[in-house]
């Protein structure tokens, strides 16, 4: 129990530090929100009307007090789950905006992450098991080649071919302009169609890391004595590959996966930007570029908590999966 308590305190400490950084970093950036909004509105070739900046400052309510007072206020607000009003989407609240974006990201990125991980791990396993065979080459090289194609470039090509030229899929957005978000069948199928291309882009580039990681680890574990004995024991090839090679090789990947899953709360900026997907990544990019402190802070907080919790779980899971690291304490 003491162990868990310690981990928990540790977890809280990290959370606090992260929350503090989330407060500080945005404020260390040069530029102030009102100016950012106005210059975004004005565009590049127009001059900015100071009156407008003034009005927007009044609208957003200039933060009162020095940095420290603001910090105390911020901590208090965070504790109450009150994230304030978004600057960019004034007067909509941050919670409202995140509530709208989160499901899209979690579903799109979550699902593709899981698929990438599963597919990547399986392919990596297969490649390692058939090390140096044609299968290995095809999997490893093929996935690298595809997986390292620059993402926005790949995404654009996909859009160009499948959406613009072939019209198989809509070219962008999370759903069609004509449909109204809700739990109707029409909407869901529409949303599904819209998610195909971003998902494909994510799935092309996603598995490579898992494949290579898995393959390398597993080649290692297949070389060990216990695998040899497993062969001697006449275990089926598949069984050896899975319980002996993969079971051990997957361990480092598990941590990675947990972190990746934790990270999806922050969305994937590139995918969402290219595909205009209404998720967290695009919201994040927007909030950063327009100095939308409240929105930025809240997204960071979500991401932070996501990653920390995932990390925490990964730790626990790791101990479960790898009996060798279970702490043996002297009493």
């Amino acid at each position: 129990m003491a162990y868990f308590l310690r981990r928990f305190v540790f977890f809280l400490g990290t959370l606090w530090a992260a929350v503090t950084l989330n407060f500080l970093i945005p404020r260390l950036q040069p530029g102030d929100p009102a100016e950012a909004i106005v210059s975004r509105l004005a565009g590049q070739s127009e001059s900015v009307d100071p009156a407008q900046v003034q009005a927007i400052r009044v609208m957003l309510g200039t933060p009162d007090g020095n940095l420290f007072d603001q910090y105390v206020q911020y901590l208090g607000a965070v504790l109450h789950g009150d994230f304030g009003i978004s600057y960019t989407y004034f007067p909509y609240s941050v919670t409202h905006m995140i509530g709208q974006a989160l499901p899209w990201t979690v579903i799109l990125v979550g699902v593709t992450q899981i698929i990438s991980f599963v597919v990547g791990t399986l392919l990596g396993t297969w490649a390692a098991y058939r090390r140096n065979s044609r299968v290995d080459s095809v999997i490893t090289l093929g996935s690298t080649f595809l997986g390292t194609l620059p993402f926005f470039w790949l995404a654009l090509l996909l859009v160009y071919v499948f959406a613009i030229t072939l019209h198989w899929f809509p070219e962008r957005g999370g759903y069609g302009g004509g449909s109204s978000p809700g739990w109707s069948w029409l909407f869901i199928s529409d949303a599904f169609q819209h998610s195909v291309l971003p998902a494909v882009a994510l799935l092309i580039t996603g598995p490579i890391g898992w494949i290579i990681g898995m393959r390398n680890n597993m080649v290692q574990s297949l070389g060990e004595d216990h695998t040899r004995l497993a062969v001697a024991r006449g275990l089926p090839r598949r069984r050896i590959a899975l319980t002996y090679g993969a079971r051990i090789a997957i361990l480092p990947n598990v941590t990675g996966f947990a972190i990746a899953l934790g990270g999806i709360l922050g969305g994937t900026v590139l995918v969402e930007t290219v595909f205009n997907y209404p998720g967290m990544g695009r919201l994040l990019l927007e909030s950063v570029s327009s100095r939308d402190y409240p929105l930025m802070q809240a997204i960071f907080l979500f991401t932070t908590i996501g990653v920390l919790v995932a990390n925490f779980l990964a730790d626990l899971l790791y101990g479960f999966l790898d009996p060798r690291v279970r702490k043996v304490e002297s009493a």
């Binding site: 024991r233 079971r247 009493a331």
Partner: protein, 629 residues
């Protein structure tokens, strides 16, 4: 038709950077249904390689370069993977020499049994069957729930053994299955094995350095030397009249530790370098009976007095006759070899001041699974001292806490209670149980350890030269060529010659015994004050054992080394140790001068240990082993 037929089998290692090595050369033998065949031979002579070849488990750069293996009518050298898979374990199972590492570290023991049953579609309750199998090797059923790393070395070996018997195969290939086991367990297991064999009728190919056991258990014994079989005859015959000079040398290295006077000899010289072509008999260089013809003519394995032998002199009947089976056998045999290990003792070491004091030390392991914790008391309230110039043997059952004690003394782990004090340093006394960082490092300048499992004690990615150079660089300040030379010397001294051949090898290119000697050489490199040797000779043949024991003995006497010698082998304890500690379930149950403890054991457990020592000579001569002299 015999169960296993091996015809003219040759195996060559062709590593990229080293010359090819004919590890097994033109080996032919047969094993009949239910036969128990022992395979003896010098460390590194190709026993494991032969075993792997039979199992078709060789991995590059080893290749079968000739010959055939036929099992139960199936040509294994030709069979495809699927055919092999069906045969494996159902008909042909094995315990690897590195059996301590051959269990999957991330799944429970029970699952490894389940795996095996499932792979061959054996129906029934896994737990029940596994429990039964574990009982066979004297293990508690709790082991089923454990992960391999939670077991002691011997326990892991027993699990491996139980696993090998799980499907009641027709042939079991045991490659030193009992190196980590104490005599009691070893004996009970082997007895059980023999019973089972009688019941079920499986055949065994038993590779071991434990001459006593092999000779006692085996129907037939094959002796390998330099990749060849040099002698092959019924066990009784071997005992009565070994025909090959090498076999004689081996037998001369063995003695019954319970006898009042124990003397052993060893075969001087080094095994042939198989990467070079040899004319004549491979043993010539070391043979006391060598003649001119031996140097030029390669002898064949020919029938000779009820067996087979590969010796020109023997075949022409010019070998001196010795009568075996008496207590003087060793002396008689050994007389043919110049070196004998008598191991004289200095007057009385007991009055030297201790360098290391262990006082009321206990160690409890607590492992956590989820929220549950379980604990094992590995060492309980142990106290003893180590003195310069003295060897203290630590004997005891497998799992009794010997390695744990070694780890406590060397500061690898901290005791739960009690103190370990080092008084041999230049400064004030050290509380070993409180050392950390730099101080611990300084402490280890004086205290070294030979690890029990040579397969995990060497970094697979580092050459032997590197492993040896580290202590030399750190403690002796040697670098570059000087370090390499010293490393070569160390290797030579533990019988690895020519050293140059080993220096650039990686651990996996060595045989088990070779690794063990590398580990020993590494521990000797810093010239420590205290040496903790955890089963340093378990994988060596008796001859090299004797040689290494002598080396260790000399070190202890000449350099006033204090040594804790952990072993299952009472013969070596008898030869080397001044004092004996007997550990049972973490508790020191008996201690005292070697002769007293072995000669007149007071503790029941100690007596049990002594009773379990095999005495093949007694069997050969019809005499019963006497527990006391």
């Amino acid at each position: 038709m015999a169960l296993l037929e091996v015809d003219h089998l040759s195996v060559t290692y062709t590593p990229r950077d080293q010359p090819a090595n004919r590890a097994v050369h033109d080996v032919s033998f047969r094993i009949a249904d239910g036969e128990f065949v022992g395979l003896l031979g010098e460390s590194g002579c190709g026993k494991s390689t032969l075993g792997n070849a039979v199992l078709r488990l060789l991995s590059p750069p080893a290749h079968i370069t000739g010959g055939r293996v036929t099992f139960d009518g199936v040509d294994l050298t030709e069979a495809d993977e699927e055919r092999l898979r069906e045969l494996r374990w159902v008909d042909l199972s094995t315990v690897f020499q590195s059996s301590m590492n051959s269990l999957n570290p991330v799944i429970r023991v029970e699952a490894q049994f389940a795996d095996t049953f499932a792979a061959h579609k054996v129906p029934g309750d896994v737990t029940a069957r596994a429990t039964e199998l574990l009982e066979l090797v004297a293990l508690d059923r709790r082991v089923l729930r454990a992960y391999p790393h939670e077991l002691s070395g011997g326990m892991k070996q027993r699990v491996a053994l139980a696993l090998a018997l799980a499907l009641r195969p027709k042939l079991v290939l045991l490659d030193e299955p009992t190196t980590g086991l104490d005599v009691v367990v070893q004996r009970s297991i082997l007895t059980r094995l023999a019973e089972l064999r009688r019941e079920l009728g499986f055949a065994v190919l038993f590779v071991s350095h434990d001459l006593g056991t092999v000779l006692e258990m085996a129907d037939r014994v094959m002796v390998m030397y330099g990749g060849e079989i040099v002698e092959d005859r019924p066990a009784g015959e071997v005992l009565r009249e070994p025909r090959h000079p090498y076999t004689r040398g081996l037998l001369g290295s063995y003695a019954d530790p319970r006898l009042p006077e124990v003397r052993v000899s060893y075969i001087p010289g080094r095994p042939p370098d198989l990467s070079r072509p040899h004319a004549g008999c491979l043993f010539t260089a070391r043979c006391p009976h060598a003649e001119d013809a031996c140097r030029t003519t390669h002898p064949d394995l020919l029938p000779d007095r009820g067996g087979l032998v590969r010796c020109l002199v023997a075949q022409e009947d010019r070998l001196p006759v010795v009568t075996l089976g008496t207590a003087e056998a060793a002396t008689a045999l050994g007389s043919h070899f110049p070196a004998t290990a008598g191991l004289h003792r200095p007057a009385d070491p007991a009055d030297a001041a201790p360098v290391l004091t262990v006082e009321r030390v206990s160690k409890r392991y607590t492992s956590r699974r989820g929220l549950r914790t379980s604990s094992v008391e590995a060492v309980r309230d142990a106290s003893f001292t180590l003195r310069p110039g003295t060897v203290t043997a630590l004997v005891g059952q497998s799992g009794s806490g010997k390695s744990t004690l070694a780890r406590l003394i060397t500061g690898v782990e901290r005791p739960s209670t009690g103190e370990v004090r080092f008084t041999g340093g230049d400064g004030p006394d050290l509380r070993v149980d409180r050392l950390r960082g730099r101080a611990l490092r300084d402490y280890r300048r004086h205290v070294q350890m030979i690890f029990q499992d040579p397969f995990s004690a060497l970094n697979p990615t580092r050459t032997i030269a590197y492993a040896l150079s580290r202590p030399l660089a750190n403690f002796a300040g040697l670098g570059g060529v000087a370090a390499r030379e010293r490393a070569a010397q160390l290797l030579e001294s533990v019988g690895l010659a020519p050293a140059g051949q080993f220096l650039d090898k990686l651990p996996h290119q060595l045989s088990g015994g070779q690794r063990q000697r590398v580990v020993t050489a590494r521990a000797l490199a810093p010239e420590p004050r205290v040496l903790i040797a955890d089963e340093p000779i378990s994988m060596l043949d008796v001859s090299i054992r004797a040689e290494i024991l002598e080396l260790l003995g000399d070190l202890v006497r000449e350099h006033r080394l204090a040594m804790l010698y952990i072993t299952h082998d009472l013969l070596s304890a008898r030869l080397l140790a001044d004092e004996v500690l007997v550990l049972n379930q973490g508790r020191v149950v008996e201690s005292g001068p070697t002769r007293e403890v072995i000669g007149a054991a007071r503790d029941d457990y100690t007596r049990l240990l002594l009773d379990s020592i095999p005495n093949p000579f007694a069997k050969a001569t019809g005499r019963q082993a006497s527990p006391s002299a």
